[in-house]
């Protein structure tokens, strides 16, 4: 294009010069100079047209002309992984604790449970659009126990509706119950190596997770408010405070067989949460949750759990890779476990009286994203329970303080160092040091707030 422009200019200029030479009268010279100016104007306007044409041609080319081959190529490559996102996440821990029976200290199912090395969570996650009405999710978890044996669990498998009217949404299948803030999060999304003590005490080693359905309503207010209720099976290890085979650890009695006879034998979990942006850079999210269901200390015994949670975050308006930020997360829970009169598991001649076992606890964690990819954290844990007829180790007073430091080389990997100062009433003080490494393969890790 530009060569053409130059050629035209040169041709016009030479012809003009030749013509000027042929004449010698002043009038003719003036006429020539006028012509010269006109021709220059013509060249200028032609150049303008050429430039605009140049732009248009380019625009057409970009809009899908010549390089058509390039675009489909990318789409073909993409098609291989289409219809379903596949991801794999590995958490591996290494460390030491002054308590030799580490699993008595670190009671979470995805905590480091031995001195030395372990893999508490290796997870295959699948998700995708089922059809225009549903999305489907599944998380299959492999984990190594204290002796290195592999355990497999269908951690989550559920559908989510996408197009119900009235701002409603239904989730169905097996899923982490939406009680509080951390319970629905996967271990790799946690900001600390281990499960908060209070969640372990109320919900057991694996958190509150069961089969059922959850109905949610996004309230049509101009700020975020969501009301939801889950109806779930009340049995199994992940319904620890309810009809769990391991409930003897709480009340010390022989669990009774308790079939589901009516709706109240299911687990009902309501939750209400709301959030406001305090400023352009600060967000506050608060929620209250409860769980009501039967427990198997007796045929009519029941448990109630109440919780309140708060999350506050500041993130710089000029955040790079999400840093710097400061966040504060806290949850407080209270459990009323009405234990029925029951036969002691350790001595069948002993009958434990009907009693109300109450437990409470909270944790608060402060995170500071100092600079891109580096986060310093501090968590305080506290749990306490009243005195029952059975002295359960799981209900004793305990507090723990955990500073940690996490480095994220990218959003697909992390290295975390954490120290725990642990004080169990009657058992004394323990110190633990854990190093955690994580990597993610496959589908991009989208973050929830």
């Amino acid at each position: 294009m530009r060569t053409l422009l130059v050629a035209v200019t040169v041709a016009l200029a030479t012809s003009t010069a030749a013509a000027a030479q042929a004449r010698d009268s002043a009038a003719a010279a003036r006429a020539d100079s006028i012509r010269l100016v006109r021709e220059r104007q013509l060249i200028d306007s032609l150049a303008k047209v050429i430039r605009s044409l140049e732009g248009r041609v380019d625009s057409l080319v970009r809009a899908g002309g010549a390089p058509a081959a390039q675009v489909p190529q990318a789409q073909t490559a993409r098609a291989a992984g289409a219809y379903m996102n596949i991801g794999f996440d590995l958490l591996s821990d290494a460390g030491w604790s002054t308590e030799s029976d580490v699993s008595s200290l670190q009671r979470g199912d995805h905590d480091p449970v031995v001195r030395g090395f372990t893999i508490p969570n290796a997870e295959i996650s699948l998700d995708g659009a089922v059809d225009p009405y549903f999305r489907g999710f599944a998380n299959i978890v492999y984990k190594l126990g204290p002796t290195g044996q592999t355990g497999v669990e269908l951690e989550e498998a559920y559908f989510l509706t996408t197009s119900l009217p009235g701002n409603l949404q239904v989730r169905g299948g097996q899923f982490f119950t939406e009680f509080g803030r951390q319970n629905p999060q996967h271990p790799h999304a946690w900001s600390f190596v281990d499960q908060p003590l209070v969640l372990n005490r109320m919900f057991g080693p694996d958190g509150l997770r069961s089969q059922g359905a959850r109905l949610s309503w996004l309230v049509p207010t101009s700020w975020y408010t969501e009301a939801m209720v889950s109806v779930l099976n009340s049995t199994g290890g992940a319904a620890f405070s309810f009809r769990s085979d391991e409930s003897a650890e709480i009340h010390g009695g022989e669990p009774v067989t308790r079939p589901v006879r009516r709706l109240e034998d299911l687990l009902i979990v309501p939750r209400l949460s709301t959030s406001v942006d305090l400023t352009a850079t600060q967000t506050l999210l608060v929620g209250v949750s409860a769980a009501f269901g039967p427990n198997n200390s007796g045929p009519d015994a029941r448990t109630q759990i109440y919780g309140a949670d708060l999350y506050w975050k500041w993130k710089s308006a000029r955040a790079s890779a999400g840093f710097p930020f400061v966040s504060w997360q806290a949850e407080a829970l209270f459990r009323r476990y009405d234990a029925a009169q029951r036969v002691s598991v350790t001595d069948s001649t002993v009958t434990l009286p009907a009693e109300r076992l109450t437990d409470r606890g909270m944790y608060g964690q402060l995170l500071w994203g100092i600079k891109p990819r580096v986060v310093a954290g501090l968590r305080g844990d506290f749990v306490s329970g009243n005195t029952g007829a059975f002295a359960s180790e799981l209900r004793a007073d305990r507090y723990r303080l955990s500073p940690n430091l996490t480095w994220y080389p990218t959003e697909f990997s992390k290295v975390r160092l954490q120290y725990n100062y642990d004080n169990r009433k009657g058992l004394g003080i323990d110190h633990s040091l854990w190093l955690q490494f994580e990597f993610i393969l496959g589908a991009h890790a989208a973050h929830k707030f």
Binding site: A63, Q70, N167, L218, S222, W223, S275, S320
Partner: protein, 308 residues
Amino acid sequence: MQTIVILRMAAAALITVSGSGPTVAKKLNVVATTPDFAALAREIGGDAIDVTALAKPTEDPHFVDPKPSLLVTLNRADVLIEGGAELELGWLPPLLDNARNERIAAGSPGRVVASQGIRMLEVPTTFDRSKGDIHALGNPHFMIDPLNAKIIAANIADHFAQVDPEAAPIFKANLERFDATVDQKLAEWQRQLAPYRGSTLVTYHKDFVYFAERFNLEIVETLEPKPGIAPSPAHLVQVISTMQARKARVILVQPYQNRRTAATVARQTNAVVLDMPQQPGAIKNITTYIELMDYLVQTLATGLEAKP
């Protein structure tokens, strides 16, 4: 603090109530993931629409917090404009999962995918994260080529017309006006940068590739060794030697990138750091796409002119 929150909630509730009154004409509620798409939407929609951008103009658009307020914004949207080339992959999907809004579902008239019809650059032939945070569909920073902006504007106008056919003539007229302005301005921008044809530059991230192609500039290095990977000292040494060999005298940075690193390199190479935000609104009084491009071209021309 609590009082403020309560007051805010009350004010918000009042706005909700008054907003739903029958006297208020129904405007299209348009949500764009980033402010640049929002600016284009404003050009096309004018007074017939309300526009909200989810990302702040100064923050890294790869890492936006999917906070609950954004969920509410998406729940109310009539139209969503997204980049479509994985720029928002880390935060938009979980919001959309819970937005409960069929109007902006994938494939509906209310969903505009900006990358549609764009000739993408740097489309990877293999997907390998050891090469850094690459995007499967190509480099997603395509808005700073004005000819791409024209294609996206046409795409937006088309979708607006489908969602609100009554206002279609307005959108068409606005599109024609925008196209004419871009054509005229592009000639101007090209004239301004023509003296610097073939100039060498350095950027922080691979985010000026489309700009360089449009204006015949050559990006010889990025401060990031690989996309999304923080600059390492060893890599910066290499950048400095390349800059000296290739006579690169400017380093382009965006508001959220580490300006201090850029300044260190600039000191050692006798170069200048130019603040070149790609989002309208990042700099005071620069709110439209044209104003932004004017600013970028002017800043770069000044920076390149000043070279010794």
